[in-house]
């Protein structure tokens, strides 16, 4: 019996040994993401979270500052030819990869060619659409891209087919960041970069850790390590934050009031406008949505102010056009989309000639508690106009497939900026060449708009360009391929020991250099 008792005691002890929790250290910054990212190879990054990490690991020719201006990164300066077709970049000569090799213009050429290379199959080949010789290289008819020119070791030139105003902006996105190409590629591959942090470890589904690059050309970061933990459940993440195991937390909407109103946290909350637009999209190729008057009627029939006031509180700002206000410069003035006006909506509906009384329309949205509420409110508003709306809730992959194939006729979706330029909210989303998976999910086609937007993006004169963007925005306001709902803001809360924190409007601005933790062990 005694022997048995001993076994029980020992196994009991074994169970609880190691209960002593390791204390966290304050040289490491802990962040949380809701789910694991797909890849860290710049050629394959298509999501915001992956892009945020890319900014820590890699650098491009240029980057964005906090005011969204394009500033030097590895290129210390650049010149643009008067015809707007040639960009000459003068590179710093003190930039090294984490392998210890010096960065030269050849690395840029190779990194950029990877994006277009059919063998690599990066989904972001479009970023170099305007580069000379891109098509020949992409179809395998040429062994190099003519437009990427290594002039000298530290002078790199990009030649375009035609002027392209957002090009510098495009060069700031994660896919245009350079890596040390070593013949490998694929989603799983983690290339060597030049960034302020060096990749250390990735436990898929659990966490990613990065360590400080002490030789970073722009001064080394204050923190030694950066750990990104993947915690799917909001409540669990909040508990980890409250216990001090996370330093920064994006506030989940379920706890928005708690963090913004509770004394302990409310002074540690940060918020920023981020570049996105939520919209109700219509498949413009299918009746009754092919009728602009019908689309206008729906747009004017939705009381966005009410939805925002009662349901979204201060987490969003109302959208008057597809483009967020920060991207619209003073020279652009246009008529915003029609606001809520039930009598106007009703008259447009009658004028449209659509026999709506015998019609049941389906509103498709991604299954999500918040979306469900929004869809119901829209259903209610449109119901008041006499329309019968049926709701269809789909999980993400099915939802995206239905939208890409055009099967969904009316849907709630959002568009997030790849780069901070007005063009990014108008060309991919409404130009008819981009119908379907290239961004124009509403399959909108308007030849006048197509001509104007093509002129605007290739225009070098600022004033003419502003005028063209005004015209483009007016067409969209009038045609209503989107009923623009709102721009979502981002809210984060930080621990009191986190200093120099700033919340960027674009995900890849922060390089993690300034932030520091001031707490003794």
């Amino acid at each position: 019996m005694n022997k048995k008792l001993l076994i029980y005691v020992i196994s009991g002890l074994l169970m609880f040994n190691g209960c002593e929790l390791k204390k966290r250290t304050y040289d490491t910054l802990y962040l949380r993401l809701k789910q694991d990212i797909t890849t860290l190879d710049p050629a394959f990054i298509v999501d915001v979270d992956g892009g945020m990490l890319a900014a820590y690991l890699y650098n491009g020719l240029v980057r964005l500052d906090k005011q969204l201006n394009v500033i030097p990164d590895i290129a210390k300066k650049w010149e643009i030819s008067t015809d707007g077709k040639t960009y000459r970049f003068y590179l710093r000569n003190d930039v090294f990869f984490s392998t210890g090799e010096k960065v030269t213009a050849v690395d840029f050429k190779k990194s950029f060619e990877r994006i277009i290379d059919p063998e690599v199959s990066s989904p972001r080949s479009w970023i170099f659409d305007k580069v000379k010789g891109k098509d020949l290289f992409m179809s395998g008819k040429s062994r190099e891209v003519e437009g990427f020119v290594v002039v000298e070791d530290h002078i790199f030139e990009i030649v375009l087919n035609q002027p392209f105003s957002p090009f510098l902006s495009i060069l700031t996105i994660p896919n245009a960041m350079i890596v040390k190409p070593d013949g490998n590629h694929g989603i799983q591959y983690i290339p060597k970069g030049t960034g302020p942090f060096i990749f250390n470890d990735w436990q898929r589904g659990n966490k990613i850790s990065l360590v400080r690059n002490n030789n970073y050309f722009d001064g080394k970061p204050n923190i030694e390590k950066l750990v990104i933990r993947f915690i799917p459940e909001d409540f669990t993440a909040i508990t980890e934050f409250e216990n001090g195991n996370l330093d920064v937390l994006e506030i989940p909407r379920s706890e928005f009031e708690y963090f913004t109103q509770y004394d302990r946290w409310k002074n540690l909350v940060f918020s920023t406008e981020i570049l996105n637009t939520y919209y109700l999209g219509f498949n413009c190729e299918e009746p009754p949505y092919s009728n602009p008057m019908f689309r206008r009627a729906i747009t004017a029939g939705i009381n966005r102010d009410m939805i925002i006031k009662n349901f979204m509180s201060s987490r969003v700002t109302k959208a008057g056009s597809p483009v967020p206000q920060i991207l619209i410069n003073e020279g652009i003035s246009f008529t915003p989309q029609h606001d809520f006006d039930s009598s106007y909506a009703k008259s447009e509906l009658e004028k449209s000639g659509v026999n709506y009384k015998n019609l049941t329309l389906t509103l498709v949205f991604n299954s999500d508690k918040e979306m469900e509420g929004i869809a119901e409110l829209i259903q209610h508003d449109l119901g008041n106009m006499g329309l019968t709306i049926q709701l269809e809730e789909l999980e993400w992959t099915t939802f995206k497939e239905k939208i890409s194939t055009g099967e969904a006729k009316m849907f709630i979706l959002s568009w997030w900026a790849d780069y901070p330029d007005i063009e990014n909210f108008l060309y991919p989303t409404f130009a008819s060449v981009n119908r379907g998976s290239a961004g124009n999910r509403v399959r909108y086609k308007n030849e006048k708009f197509d001509t104007i937007i093509e002129q605007a993006r290739t225009c070098v004169d600022m004033q003419t360009q502003n005028k063209l963007y005004c015209d483009a925005l007016n067409i969209i306001s009038n045609d209503c391929p989107w009923c623009c709902l709102w721009h979502k803001k981002k809210y984060t809360v930080i621990q009191p020991w986190v200093k120099n924190y700033f919340l960027a409007p674009v995900y890849n601005i922060d390089k993690g250099l300034e932030i520091k933790l001031e707490k003794r062990q």
Partner: protein, 310 residues
């Protein structure tokens, strides 16, 4: 004989496995959704989209062709590659399986100990209090949803008292295991307690028990050596079923505690329509169930020599 039985069982399991792959494959293909949209993001031109589709061999060659391709990939090693991570399915599952195994083992140990002990106590004690306590606890255990119980434990032990970690697997420390294991094991413990109680009561008046009492054997010994051993068959069956399902990963528990196991991985794969991973995961799960069932068959013989393996 046992060796022959084992071989027979293994051969019998082959059609089951093939059947499972076919059924899963058809179900997956019937479900809407396309993995390509997860890979390409919000903006990709049509030519590149087709190139990527070609590269990943997504939706090629019709249904039969795809199934053959899948089987071919499976035998070529690694059970094919994930569309999303491009890693072999085997390596991704192998990375997570130890976590699932640890959680399953610890949960089943908790449920066996607490369930059987509670069951025995309430079967043997004549005090109504214990019986009522058992009824309350087991009703609570069976009817409480896992996600609620998990969040409740996090709230008490991590948020209020901060004595146990709320999520993650840490560096493998035991502390990270306690809350998820209790969450996962509680329901099984409740069932086990009920089952043990009924089983024990049914053998309480058996002749061999009365005979053992007559021989003056210590009551504790009667319970452990004679009654329990005879009451074990249904209990072992239940444990086997639960353990098998724990080894397949427990989606809710893993999600709540950010536990990087097989269950949450497969659910993620389903959301992303990552067909090779889903198929691999389900195949692994089936194999586990078959193995656990064979082991249970052997345990039956161990506990009741009258049973023969044929």
């Amino acid at each position: 004989m046992p060796a022959l039985y084992l071989i027979k069982k293994i051969i019998e399991s082959i059609p089951t496995l093939i059947g499972v792959t076919i059924v899963t494959f058809i179900l997956l293909k019937l479900a809407p959704g396309d993995p390509i949209y997860y890979l390409v993001g919000e903006r990709v031109d049509q030519t590149r989209l087709e190139q990527i589709r070609e590269k990943y061999q997504i939706n090629k060659k019709g249904l039969v062709g795809q199934y053959c391709l899948y089987v071919k990939n499976m035998f070529q090693g690694g059970m094919g590659r994930s569309y999303i991570t491009n890693k072999t399915v085997i390596s991704s599952l192998a990375q997570r399986f130890p976590n699932t195994l640890r959680l399953a083992m610890f949960s089943i140990i908790i449920s066996i100990f607490s369930g059987i002990i509670l069951g025995i106590i309430s079967a043997y004690t004549r005090i109504p209090f214990w019986d009522q306590l058992l009824t309350i606890l087991t009703t609570f255990g069976i009817s409480t949803p896992v996600f609620w119980f998990g969040l409740f434990l996090i709230f008490i032990f991590a948020r209020c008292f901060n004595i146990l970690p709320a999520s993650g697997t840490g560096e493998g420390e035991m502390a990270y295991l306690i809350l998820p294991a209790i969450t996962l094991g509680s329901r099984s413990a409740a069932y086990l307690a009920r089952m043990t109680k009924t089983s024990m009561e049914s053998v309480k008046g058996a002749r061999y028990v009365i005979a053992a009492k007559g021989r003056g054997i210590h009551p504790f010994s009667i319970v452990m050596r004679h009654s329990l051993k005879n009451a074990l068959i249904p209990i072992v069956t239940l444990i086997g079923l639960d353990f098998g399902s724990y080894l397949n990963g427990s989606v809710l528990t893993e999600t709540i505690f950010g536990w990087n196991g097989v269950g949450s991985y497969i659910v993620m794969a389903i959301n992303q329509r990552d067909y090779p991973v889903i198929m691999g995961g389900i195949l692994l799960g089936t194999t586990i169930f078959i193995t656990v069932n064979i082991i249970i068959d052997f345990l039956y013989v161990l506990f009741d020599p009258r049973i023969e393996l044929k």
